[in-house]
Chain length 237, copies 2
DNA sequence: GAATGTCTGTGTGTTGACGCACATATAGGC
DNA sequence: GCCTATATGTGCGTCAACACACAGACATTC
């Protein structure tokens, strides 16, 4: 039996909300709710993926880890999508780490079941592919932004992308961790965050950040944010 | 009738070379050979794609164009892949421009025929998806490289990625154009290229560059190149 | 061979981000 | 309350890349 509450919770994830009732009915018994703590690693680079994850309130960051240990984020996944696209794309692994950026809930499903449902075709298949294209846009825009924009702009972009995937205005995260995500120095984030706080857009105390004025953040962001946002809406809206 | 010569030429493209004989036989009558000049734009950002392109000797660059006109490359496609993945991913467009970086030959095919063959499933379907995953890795690594590495390292990476997709050691391309691809200043490329020439790795005269010592370039490159190379081999090798 | 346009080399000053060092502030355990 | 670990603020020297300016080299055209 599938309790109705599980369905209500599952469709907080936009992909699960968008598929047909028949598809959802097939998937629901296989979706296991999991609560993820900050910092939990879902996949290690090159590691075979056993599960696909559909976040509802958690946010997952996709990171590349350099040989010297420095890191850079290539994309972020929340209730807009799924973690583990390599499972149906055919590669089974990626050279990235998937790590929990904001604690919360997800549903996980066995990789084999994911492949089965994907190969049935149908709307689920199409949704997975369209989501993948949206993710490609996000990664592309990260590349562009890393090349051409300032740390200030990138912090705004990152905060807005996170906020879009967050159930509240609070983000539990130290400046040191944000710096690791963006691949910049911790001091760089301190400077940028102070400016945003002085402007009244955010407030923060020791790893507890609150977004006070989204519109303000949007004035400080580069065009990259809107490009990604528009593309997600176009492909999955 | 499909002349045998056309088949010989088509399978210079690795995707076309890897699919089943039946699939190739179905596609061949629909593949039109096209010779592309340097600078030719295949798709504009947001423009509906009418054709998918399978390069054999040409190289296509995927660029993002900022509102202020500055540009940055997010990926490069040669005989290893195809241009126009948005056609089968379902989005039909992308926010990027596809422009010819190195003149040469491609085969093009109507978007509708591409979709038909893709939805048949089979090895072609799987190859398209695996190629897409490889491209994601390339874009991801571009993001990482843009964040963490020097112009010198990035030029080496770019030259090696291009050389892998080139039928010869010659690359017809001015420093100004390379700068636009990498999203850096022309002078930055001048400096980096001079160092590589002094080291004997390359030689160049007014937009005519020759790669003399690949192994040398590999000593100057960051790990990003090898990550991408390995992933292409794993997924499509 | 003169004129023009394009490509490459070089200099100067500026700036954004880095690396390092250390000061201050808060939370939590004992 | 004290201690320690962690988080944030700040200063300073360095450096890579930037913007701008212009000189020289080569190619093409007439």
């Amino acid at each position: 039996m599938v309790p109705k509450a599980a369905k209500e919770e599952a469709i907080q994830n936009h992909l699960l909300a968008g598929i047909t009732p028949e598809e959802l009915a097939r998937l629901l018994p296989n979706l296991q709710p999991v609560t993820l703590e900050l910092g939990k690693v879902l996949y290690e680079s090159g590691e075979k993926m056993d599960y696909v994850y559909f976040p509802t309130t958690a946010i997952i960051s996709l990171l590349y880890i350099m040989e010297n240990g420095s890191t850079a984020e290539i994309g972020v996944v929340g209730n807009d999508g799924m973690v583990g696209i390599a499972i149906f794309m055919g590669g089974d692994t990626t050279p990235n780490r998937a790590v929990v950026q904001s604690a919360g809930k997800t549903f996980k499903m066995k990789a084999a079941l994911m492949k089965d449902e994907f190969t049935r075709g149908g709307r689920f298949h199409n949704f997975c592919l369209r989501y993948t294209q949206a993710l490609i846009t996000q990664i592309s825009q990260t590349a562009v932004c890393n090349r051409l924009h300032s740390v200030d702009q990138q912090l705004c972009r990152w905060l807005l992308l996170s906020h879009d995937r967050l159930p509240s205005n609070r983000l539990i995260m130290t400046q040191d961790l944000i710096a690791n995500m963006l691949g910049v120095r911790r001091e760089g984030i301190t400077h940028a965050a102070r400016r945003l706080q002085k402007a009244g857009y955010i407030s923060y105390v020791r790893g507890d950040m609150t977004i006070l004025d989204r519109t303000g953040l949007e004035t400080g962001v580069c065009e990259c944010y809107q490009v990604v946002r528009t593309e997600y809406d176009r492909l999955l809206g």
